[in-house]
Symmetry: C3
Amino acid sequence: MLTLKEIVAALGGQLHGQEDFAVHAIAPLNTAGATHISFLAQPKLIKQAEETHAGALILAPRMFKLLQGKLSSAVAVIEVDDPYLYYARLSQLFAHSATPSKLLRHPSAIIAADAVIDPSACIEAQAIIETGVVIGANCRIGAGCVVGQNVHVGAESQLHPRVTLYRDCRIGQRCIIHSGAVIGADGFGFANDHGTWVKIAQLGRVLIGDDVEIGANTTIDRGALGDTVIEEGVKLDNQIQIGHNTHIGAHTAMAGCVGVAGSARIGKHCMFGGAAMILGHLEIADHVTVSSGTLVSRSINAPGMYTGIFPAQANADWEKTAAVLRQLPDFRQRLKALEALLAQAGASHHKE
Amino acid sequence: MLTLKEIVAALGGQLHGQEDFAVHAIAPLNTAGATHISFLAQPKLIKQAEETHAGALILAPRMFKLLQGKLSSAVAVIEVDDPYLYYARLSQLFAHSATPSKLLRHPSAIIAADAVIDPSACIEAQAIIETGVVIGANCRIGAGCVVGQNVHVGAESQLHPRVTLYRDCRIGQRCIIHSGAVIGADGFGFANDHGTWVKIAQLGRVLIGDDVEIGANTTIDRGALGDTVIEEGVKLDNQIQIGHNTHIGAHTAMAGCVGVAGSARIGKHCMFGGAAMILGHLEIADHVTVSSGTLVSRSINAPGMYTGIFPAQANADWEKTAAVLRQLPDFRQRLKALEALLAQAGASHHKE
Amino acid sequence: MLTLKEIVAALGGQLHGQEDFAVHAIAPLNTAGATHISFLAQPKLIKQAEETHAGALILAPRMFKLLQGKLSSAVAVIEVDDPYLYYARLSQLFAHSATPSKLLRHPSAIIAADAVIDPSACIEAQAIIETGVVIGANCRIGAGCVVGQNVHVGAESQLHPRVTLYRDCRIGQRCIIHSGAVIGADGFGFANDHGTWVKIAQLGRVLIGDDVEIGANTTIDRGALGDTVIEEGVKLDNQIQIGHNTHIGAHTAMAGCVGVAGSARIGKHCMFGGAAMILGHLEIADHVTVSSGTLVSRSINAPGMYTGIFPAQANADWEKTAAVLRQLPDFRQRLKALEALLAQAGASHHKE
């Protein structure tokens, strides 16, 4: 529970309404009740804002003007430039106020004698911290995590339970890593010896910048010789696979199930829809958006949005489309032949 | 080992044969031996049934009639309406008879003092049960599981080793959750602040109904504000990703590697083939089947089967098809031009 | 650090240069320094080889000849038939020299009294070894692994932290299994009872041959009745899903995010690009290569490369392509109509 006064003190904005109004939770416009705060981020939802039962609203100045006279006088308003961004910050405030404190070092954690752990860091039950590890201030190392030899974790970073960090990897400050993530497993590299695969030991590391978030069960492989690098501010959703020696530029975001093959070099401020696949050794420019389900098999040198999706159809229609698809090269021939025939006919016609 | 008498007593069906015949295992028709029971679920396999060496067979009445005189008189038969369903129930009977008992509370488990755990529940080695947790009767919490604060797990539910349940989630009765699954990690939500992503704290929960099965390394994200909901009887295979605030209707089944983006609303009794992808904020009606590898980018309002797969070809053929694919819009123009030319020619011809 | 003498003693090759030259690391040609060894595996990189600052080079005889006179006389050369293969073996030598020894049995590991564990095996912190397990010589069972009842792990196999092996599975010798992998979870099998799914207990096992590598968070399901089989030398990358009763032939390699549905039978020496999907009950011949992102929906009986990818385009172009794609069956009709018309016109023309 937070009062509007506490909220505005922490996050700014101009308050119109009772300072001591107590907000119990954030809720969407259409389900909010009298003790909730809501926000209007998309102009098309203005009708919902008119009819909301929320006790408080976060509004941009233009929307606030449009809604004046239409809102109940009981509704408090926080006027801010970017309501969605304000909602993001407010959600963190609520999350923070709900987080209970834990034992700083659970006695069941197994911590190497030479590990350097900031006294403010919380090491949860059965976490394993190996030799040479360095853990910064206010970190959380969740239950059952395994932090391999010589790993460094920067201040304020949060590892949820059951994260595995292989040896020598580096995690920046204020990172969040979700359960089941595996950072630094071997890249997929083999030499072929007469049909048998000979393993190429993966001698590089994974280097992760500040403010990176990594989703549940996501995997990031260590480099073969050099390192795999994830720059600051990158956000990776769940179940993503990042191959060895990949380099991902700052503030790039990838939705769930994306795969990136080895040695890809991806720019800054890119966005990848779910299950997009990037083949190896490609370069992707800054500010590129790749649609969900799109496989990128060549480098992309210019910003913009790129797509390659087979449109879903009713199955019977798809069967017809797919059957004809294989005949496309033949269609081309036939089109050409028809055009040639008509050109000739036209010519001969004129001659006649 | 079960006798036919025990099987029929537990599962019903009309027995033709020796009650005290001891069945050692279930086996497919073509590999079964004299101590095995097999089943005929597809009429096209009737030839295999004729030639099977199984000691006992599960048959539908029609198949039993067709096979009479063709089976060795030594073969026992259980006559049932739906042999495949009977096989499913029988497989559970065999699995159950093979499950050894374990210590109810392994001393290495770490259980919060205020957790409410039914005395019949089995908490395996190094499981971690946090404060406020409620665990129902006859549950199994596998080795190394982490059950977060205030999680409730309904009676008879089985968590295999190394499952993670984030705080506040609800698991119904008789659920099965496989190793590596992560339930309740943060949804993927950020607001953009001049190119930098600001995290939206994920304040909702995951609510899972009764009789849900969740595969190995599957991830289900908690809601941003409201909850992510998986209704009763849903079956999720391995490596599935369910985004925040998704709602999946009862008895829907999804094969491995499916991805569902945030806020999708999926109906009851749907089926999704492997690696199908559902974009966010879509609605899928009840009784919809989506083929493997199909990306659904628009809502589907009518039951039926939907597909969007690029057919695999020999690579040289595919290269030709793919090259021509990009010329399709051009083909349309050329077709139109030819048709116009011919229409004109036809007209002028008639005029001549 | 290894001297050239030690390297050649271990791996062979003809040394041209100082035996006691100390190599600190392997590095790519373009980043190597004076204490590094590098290798030339692709003729197109010969220019990089000329200009490298590496202190030592691994070269094939032909390249050695081409480079003579162009390399600094200070550069040592190891002449070998296959530099890439030699690099693979050398990388293992470096990895091995860097691996520290660990306690053979961490006191926090929980080991069933009847488990048979070779005295040379290393059981790390909080690993759980259940009843009936057999672990071979020189195995490593990583921190937090769960090795289920009656599992056998062959000599020299390495389980990284947090691997789960369900009961009764078999792991061959010299296998490597990465963190988060789950071997032997239930296959996805249900019978339908008037809209409700009834679980088919999965009574088979997973059998894994020698020299198999399994990537992080990869899942391999146990068989329903028979076993799921992975033959020797198979290499599976991260986040792969292998359905129940699949059979994968020896020395087949699969890149990340591949999915294989149940009962597929895949040949030897096959290669699958990332995110390739193989539907159930298919057969794939030996020596088949499937491109990344390709869904295989029919059996493949002949060796070769197979592809089915929708080419990525700038989004605006894709929208045009996709819109026309649905009209393909219509195009076929119109092409046919035009051809018929022209044939007729040609005929009538001749008649005239």
